[in-house]
Amino acid sequence: MSLRRLFRGARLLDPDSGRDGVGDIIVVGGRIAAIGANISGDELGPDVEIVDVGGSCLAPGLVDMRVQLREPGAEHIESVESGSQAAAAGGVTTMVALPNTEPPVDDVSVVEFLARRAREVRLTKVHTYATATKGMAGKELTEMGLLAANGALGFTDGVKAIADALIMRRVLAYARTFDQLVIQHPEEPSLASAGEVTEGEIATRLGLAGITPAAEVIIVERDLRLVAITGARYHVAHVSTAATIEAIRRAKTDGLPVTCDTAPPYFALNETAIGDYRTFAKLSPPLRAEHDRRAVVAGLADGTIDAIASDHSPWDQDSKRLPFSSASYGIVGLETLLPLSLELYHNRHLPLIDVLRRLTIAPARILGLGVGRLAAGAPADFVIFDPDAKYRVRTDAFRSKSKNAPFDGRPVQGRVELTVVDGRTIFERAA
């Protein structure tokens, strides 16, 4: 007898269909069997489990297209298991890991290893990208055909930009042969190597070496021209400047197969968060000036930015409790993805359904996954949350092994109550 559950009395929010209204969902055998207002569960018989949602929001589970899980290689920092627990608590039902592990995901065996680990942990659905170049060395193509056939969802050198223009052209051309997505970390490496924060008054006052914000648009503009030549599907990760967003807006108008995402730090924070050399606010690309932060918000509002990803980048204390220049780049994000994204709604930049769109169906479409929507026949992956619940972020309560986030103590609104994957509850907030 397969699992039968009736979720009753929810505010159903499905960005794909535009549905926003009170209703019920019936789950049978891991899929949504029926959805709508006043569905009676009578025909399901006596074995059905009834969950009273009590008016909370029920939306597709979040699809996080950019996380680092550190497995294999650095399981003391994060693992598939701890990362999945953090994802479940954050309402994330599908996530895609970057391939910058040790060894990197540049071989079919590592793709298979991660798939096995995900099956064993059996919480959030875990996918992986593979590297675009062998060893992320930026020189030789990886076996994209074989890697994709074994489940790799796209190709990227992780937190390294694919720097060489000729190699990037071949990466795009080869990926296009197999209709694969290429994801770029948008920092022109020679410019970015000159510093660790955005250049400007704050960097100058702190005596930190600056990176011109143009380092981002320079490599994106170059890539867009290569995309025009090759026709490859190209995705820019965590865009953070007005100039980049404008370049992508223009490329989309021109009909290029281009998409992009951003991460909460780029619309929730600006460079002032570095404050007194706070290494938890050190990330790549670096936090930007206020006008760039506003451009990110505007890009999300007008749809130029397709998706929001957590850019979950766990680090242990030894990697962050260092002088600013020596500290690692990155912020953990799985458990704050929803409340920080909901700031866009509470601050009236985007309607709730559009915030959810950037977290669900939009990334699912870019990745070619059949998740991220509430519809009969779709996988029963969803999140139940109270969008208005007020609380303060407590990083010490994170399920992630790493706590490196500059959001500790930040007052937020929006709390995950229940996370469901294939009809199974993978997270339920303790009452």
Partner: protein
């Protein structure tokens, strides 16, 4: 003189040849195939003529093929491996041409690693020049021998569908074959990963595919190209196993082609890279050995034509 005779002074490429030119060469070569199968295979057409094989790039099969062809026609054949002589000493191509010309050869057979180099050399000498392969540009005798091989098996070239598969980007064989097959009325496809296709290849009159099964669907002829080893490990394709899996010809992919489709390869083959041995060695479908045999006949025909053209030879003084 035959009104349909080939009337060009040199054979530098297929580009520019008419269907009549090509048919004339193939008809002549056809006769040499029969002669070559006899015990006595010597003619004296080229008696007293000097043929210099001038190879600026390593070659075994093409050079040997021209040497056999020249000797069977009774000519004096001299092999010059220029790659290891004058180029090393810094002599320019034009100086080498002038030096060779002063020895009063009747035919120069030239291979050079740079596209256009054979044409440049041909402009500086008084004798006939046959291009035995220039860079990624042309290899006309290969295309002619391929055409003869197909014609003898299928009866004609017009109306056939031919898929040329693999490293089209760097291949002079592909360029010559595309030109010849189009001239003769065949339909030509190219099948390759996008990293191994030159820009605007569709303007050469081919249909472009990136998937073997789709590209081989209902074709009459599958022409595989050699993948050079320096291109196998990441610069253009990631690995030989991935290349073989997606672009190597094996029995499975061949099922998409017509049941009587034939397989060709200019050699030397990389077994297990671009072609599986089971396919390459299939005596019913593989024409690879016949191609080598036709090569000698085609080159005999070309030499006969070059030597018979009165405009070739020493200038009248």
């Amino acid at each position: 003189m035959d009104p349909h005779a080939y009337r060009h002074r040199h054979l530098l490429g297929i580009e520019g040849l008419t269907p009549e030119d090509i048919t004339y060469v193939l008809d002549l070569a056809d006769g040499y195939v029969d002669m070559n199968r006899q015990t006595e295979k010597k003619k004296s057409l080229l008696r007293g003529r000097t043929l210099i094989n001038c190879f600026f790039e390593n070659s075994t099969r093409t050079r040997t093929s021209f040497e056999v062809a020249g000797k069977r026609l009774g000519g004096d054949v001299i092999n010059m491996a220029v790659a290891v002589s004058s180029m090393r000493k810094g002599e320019t191509l034009i100086d080498t041409a002038m030096t060779l010309n002063a020895m009063r050869p009747d035919v120069l057979v030239v291979r050079h690693p740079e596209s256009g180099a054979v044409q440049l050399l041909s402009e500086k000498v008084d004798c006939a020049v046959i291009n035995a392969g220039d860079g990624s540009h042309e290899h006309p005798t290969q295309a002619l021998l391929d055409a003869l091989t197909i014609r003898r098996r299928k009866g004609m070239l017009a109306g056939l569908t031919v898929a040329i598969c693999g490293d089209v980007l760097h291949s002079r064989v592909a360029r010559s074959n595309i030109a010849l097959l189009n001239t003769m009325g065949a339909r030509v496809r190219v099948v390759a990963p996008r990293t191994l296709l030159p820009a605007a290849v569709e303007h050469l009159g081919v249909e472009v595919f990136h998937d073997m099964t789709a590209g081989l669907a209902d074709v009459d002829i599958v022409m595989m190209l050699r993948l050079q080893s320096e291109r196998m490990h990441g610069s253009f394709v990631p690995s030989t196993r991935e290349y073989f899996r997606f672009f190597g010809l094996d029995e499975d992919k061949l099922k998409a082609a017509k049941p009587d489709a034939l397989i060709m390869h200019p050699g030397p083959m990389n077994r297990g890279v671009e072609i599986a041995s089971t396919v390459a060695d299939d005596i019913d479908r593989s024409l690879i050995r016949q191609q080598v045999e036709m090569g000698v006949a085609v080159r005999m025909a070309c030499l006969e034509i070059m030597a018979g053209n009165p405009s070739n030879g020493p200038p009248v003084k």
